[in-house]
Symmetry: C2
Subunit: 302 residues, 2 copies
């Protein structure tokens, strides 16, 4: 509803009775598509998709496939969203592995990290496609030409890393991306790259570690700030309101699944209204900017 008020055309997909009641409470009359089945977080994704053709994830995927929606946003099972995107919507020609691109805040801007969890293990050539797809999204989302791409590694030297990273390095040098070499986790602070590529296991761990480290630092800082006078502390908290907003994963929107024939956004499982609204707005923006066509073109050229 928040997103719709800000100009997005939203279709709600889910249990019609429940959604109608909730919309009535909010005084809204957004269109609803009925989807009586539900895929649980614990369900096997592929099996759940087969057995529950009327789950909201399946219905959303069909709306996108049939051109009735430009994008779909779900805070449901990541596995089921990926499976629905691959099976119902389909991969773009030439894409080996769709990848999840997450947006990580950096001082003054943001870094796109992919893969954030779609492919736990990857080949060097997959990392090159992640770099191509991530560059397209960075151009649109960060508004920069020729975004810098870094390979996440355990050191800066080209010889660093596992066999995968060692082999990916020269491939990335030859690829038509602005490859700036190896980057490390600490480059989240230096913003050395606009796009960081890695396998989905490492990417997932990086995002959760960054989240955990920031929370941990905030908790430690609060313990120390408790010595301040209440009036001073209140001023500090006011000043930090913007800081919290900038680091808040809710504000950032969702992670985009790149490499499929539609805009597919995976929102955080514990998303609030604001988070979902931001994910919907970001998805709408990506659809308007022609994300899918541009990714298809970049992959076709490579």
């Amino acid at each position: 509803v928040i997103a719709a008020e800000e100009g997005c055309e939203v279709i709600l997909v889910g249990d019609e009775t429940r959604l109608k009641m909730e919309l009535a409470d909010l005084g809204s009359d957004l269109p609803i598509v009925h989807a009586p089945e539900e895929i649980g977080m614990g369900d096997d994704p592929a099996k759940a998709l087969r057995e529950k053709p009327n789950s909201s994830i399946s219905v959303c995927a069909r709306l996108v496939r049939d051109g009735e929606a430009d994008a779909f946003v779900s805070a449901g099972s990541t596995g089921a969203v990926m499976a629905a995107a691959a099976i119902v919507i389909g991969r773009l020609p030439g894409v080996w592995r769709p990848a999840i691109a997450a947006v990580l805040p950096t001082p003054g801007s943001a870094t796109l990290l992919l893969d954030a969890g779609a492919n736990l293990e990857v080949k060097p050539k997959h990392l090159v496609q992640f770099a191509l797809m991530g560059s397209v999204m960075a151009e649109i989302h960060l508004g920069i030409k020729n975004p810098r791409v870094g390979l996440l590694n355990n050191g800066e030297e080209p010889s660093k890393g596992r066999k995968t990273e060692q082999e990916a390095f020269p491939l990335l040098q030859k690829a038509s991306v602005n490859f700036v070499g190896n980057v490390e986790g600490r480059d989240l602070a230096t913003a050395k790259a606009d796009v960081m590529v890695t396998d989905g296991f490492t990417g997932n761990v990086v995002i959760k570690t960054a989240e955990g480290a920031v929370q941990m630092a905030a908790a430690l800082a609060m313990e120390e700030l408790a010595v301040l006078q209440p009036t001073v502390l209140a001023q500090v908290m006011d000043a930090l309101e913007g800081f919290r907003r900038r680091l808040d994963y809710e504000q950032i929107g969702g992670a985009h699944l790149l490499g499929v024939k539609g805009v597919v956004v995976i929102a955080h499982g514990a998303s609030s209204r604001v988070a979902i609204a931001n994910a919907v707005k970001m998805a709408g923006g990506m659809a308007d900017a022609g994300l899918v066509a541009k990714v298809a073109e970049r992959i076709a050229e490579s």
Copy 2:
């Protein structure tokens, strides 16, 4: 010198002329062992050890092997320290892969993370040994009995992870450690485990990501705090002094290489005097507590 003043018996190893001059400046007469050769950060570790038998790293390793020192601390090339530890000092019986244990601050305590970079790729059984060795160090360093061990993974469910994590899970359940299941990067904030095990690539990325995320958050916070009046800001900075100390990697000491026949500590390459002193003190404490014998015992029992 700081460490020596606080009761450590320190032997300095390095270029005698240079060290003598520096000690004279400090008015100290610590014993020196001459080591005229130097291994650079870019040198191939194994080759450098063979070609430079009188580098400080080689000499230190021989002092430990020959019982003339209980521990050695180096801020030099991690690869060369590991190679010297493996070749000169030797692995403990039954240890497949020595691993680096790093100390990460958590609210109220700390978590040991291993492997922090010695073995970029590991087998499930290696992770079990990391859990055993890490538990011994946690008992000594954190002073807790039966430390909780977590497997770093991309989700909490036992089925999560790559093949390595999936196979390690049941092995850890059967091992004589207090296995609490899968943990995620965000558990740095929840302190769900005292010991986290993972491969050395992921471990290295996690440490650097945590460092980068905290720096990034601090930079963002400072931008927002700039709106405060100078006197208020000064109070905040005073209050955060302790916070900085707690998160400061310099204060924590060095990462310990576990599984070799001696206490071997790898200090951060960019270590200050304080950092080195803390690493030396921690190494001394570990030697006094019988770290090596206790690790040997735990591995022999397993």
